[in-house]
Symmetry: C2
Amino acid sequence: MDLRIERPERPGRRGEGAAAPVYRQIAEQIRAQVEVGGLAAGARLPTIRALARRLGVNRDTVALAYESLAAQGVVEARVGRGTFVRSAAPATRRDGADALRLAPAVERLLDLERGLPHYGATDGAIPLHALVPDPSLFPVDGFRRAVNRALSDGGAALLGYGGPQGHAGLREVLAARLREAGHAAGPESIVLCQGASQGIALAMRLFAESGDSVAIEDPTYQNALGAVVGLGLRPVPVPMGAEGPDLAALDRVLARPEVKLFYTIPTFHNPMGVTSSLAHRRALLEVAGRHGVPVVEDAYEMDLRFAGRPVPSLAALDEAGTVVQLTSFSKSLFPGVRCGAVVARGRLVEALLVLRHASDLGGALPLQAALADFVGRGAYDRHLAAVRRELRARRDVLLEALEAWMPEGTRWTTPEGGFQVWAELPEPLDTRDLFADALRAGVLFAPGYQFHADGRSSRGLRLSIALAGRDEIREGIRRLGRVACEHVAAGTAPTRAASVHM
Amino acid sequence: MDLRIERPERPGRRGEGAAAPVYRQIAEQIRAQVEVGGLAAGARLPTIRALARRLGVNRDTVALAYESLAAQGVVEARVGRGTFVRSAAPATRRDGADALRLAPAVERLLDLERGLPHYGATDGAIPLHALVPDPSLFPVDGFRRAVNRALSDGGAALLGYGGPQGHAGLREVLAARLREAGHAAGPESIVLCQGASQGIALAMRLFAESGDSVAIEDPTYQNALGAVVGLGLRPVPVPMGAEGPDLAALDRVLARPEVKLFYTIPTFHNPMGVTSSLAHRRALLEVAGRHGVPVVEDAYEMDLRFAGRPVPSLAALDEAGTVVQLTSFSKSLFPGVRCGAVVARGRLVEALLVLRHASDLGGALPLQAALADFVGRGAYDRHLAAVRRELRARRDVLLEALEAWMPEGTRWTTPEGGFQVWAELPEPLDTRDLFADALRAGVLFAPGYQFHADGRSSRGLRLSIALAGRDEIREGIRRLGRVACEHVAAGTAPTRAASVHM
């Protein structure tokens, strides 16, 4: 079969008028060939590895294309045998499903998703793109023993419905940690959730529903943008300054009656890596309080400080009780425990509980109980100490390498914790333009456009020390620097097309 | 302190004009006493046990009142010491949170929740109210070993982000089971979720957003009503007949353009326990297909058939691809695994994945992998065989007892699987009126009003064989029958008030 792949080096705003992602181009062309009979029912597709090599793309890109075709009913995977074109029957059955009208918010979410970079697995490329903690640091055995103890001690009681608030023991443990950080929230103020991500959706739903607007930082966490879009909300950007959101802009945005909340990441901001000062926090709370607008504080990397002095959280400083705080174990321990928390006050807790109940009844007690055991025994703190040491060392290597290899005029942030550093290249580069060349050079980064609600061109890029070791970071930045220097020298690069016959 | 409790025997429509739930009455009166200084900061409240005894209410009712007060910041629990009135500071801080304007859907959800019966724990009352599987039947050790093996074999890979679709091995296993039941859905068509409950919310969000309407059966699962209300949707009832929803009514409802989907429970209907015939299913699909309206099939108790012959699911019969099916392990294994699945086709899978990603990124791989292991080894099927035997025996006892003890003119359904039997008392009784007397007599049931979207008076009640053993079921129905006979003889009972000085 003959596939023609256009590299998505210059996608337009959120994919409009842009080259489709590579996986989608592959999937659509295979599907077209099935439909015209160029690939017959029962025909076996090339292996993922073979097709990836022939097209010069990442293996996960091909895997994604095959999965997408399988989801459409065009092909099917047979375990141990390969991927095959399906007989006609499912193809006709699929039409009904595809003809259904999806909710407008879902269509917008699909559009947003299509505009995101598709990384696939690293396959040797150095992963400086993802905020996914390093599996080599996971305390697997310690946690396995904690699950075992929890199930041995808790027995059947841990296997029932845990309720929307979650395991009382874990809430006690979390409350004690919050108190140590100067945030006087009791276990009754804590609602456990599936990582901060579910917390974002729940906290937004407290105050806003389809058609409402929410204030967000610009740039901000791309999955928070996903949550906003998926809930049918409109994001209203507040520009980020060097040490947090611009408060004059915030003041103007929160004056608008359709804006129902402000979502902010004051500590180790995503994607920028900056932490706002105590004075900035107090001023932010004053602005929000003056407008009576609740603040959703995403503190998802709170436990990952490796330098500087802690700044009290917005929730700890909040006299009015209008801050809803989100915390998570996904970055500081591992994502697989699927545990975070929403911390709120008064009626908000009651409202969170009914929302959580209506969303999924509640979380998994076995994992919550194991986590309570793990934290309660001090194993989490021991783990944190080791992770912080490692992250501190990786950050120092990253900053040194940026200094050594990036083009003149590049600027970057110096985070005191968390995974991410934000770098800005000299104008007028769009970091999307570097992506394909960087991938070819064997390094992945997160281009800045995806962190803007309008998906606009950005000379920013997010670099992560989460997954790569020190040597990899050094080598990755060397490769990225070379690509960046080439682009700076050449101006913007043209769209290239690669044709592969197979 | 002096508390005056009005029994909520005659709550009006969804709580309007009704006596507030007992826990709320207790909480509000204690709060009032704190506010006027009748209870000083630092004062210790009576123990839950003591107050429950004095008021003659269930201990969990008091626990709920105390938790609610704690959430409001009025009292605080100190581990091992008791519950104390808080100092004034948090009470003033709480005002800001309580003054925030919640989203209208959340206010409606809170109203709905307030109208539901609050059972608390059984404390000796025979539990015929809940669809919560019997912990004494949970295969705790087998599952603990499965988790252990999964974490030993899978290691760190199981502790990363699992992605919105979930563990591939579990999806393979589920697909094989679906195929055996005549439903040709591959693993690529399955999206794992947190029990069918999350599946309900995700499936509805595919097609409907705030302001849209959805067709539901009347009566239907009360938490599905919660999902509808929480999403800002309007429920449009389709009356249930003896063997499924009235198809002429369905035809009229689905003709309305604002109705975006039909949510149905064709197998072991909740609350009615009935299963529709093959002919009814085909006719239902024809009606939905004619209007181009997708069908959300909740098959949450599918694996619990203990009598009669299986009827193919709507999804298995679906030629058009417009049925989205929900399954769950919560009832057939245990809720604590928090695992169910949404099964769909074509673009719907892709849409489910972005919605799930925007909701909570995905579920917990350690539990999904353990479940794959547990099912793959045949342990789930062995468990099912034992559970079905037990449920069959319990159902037979229940039906016999209904025959023996319920008032003349009572009618009930004869389920072939699942937990619930629906009984209807002779008119003009409202089963809400029996609730308090039944509780006093030591038996709990689920009054019918909560399964109607409009919360209207109902002579129906749902009886569950999930939690009670055979002897308990027999005794429970004897007690319920006595109370029902008294009410039938006396007509409706007056509202009673109990005053307790403590």
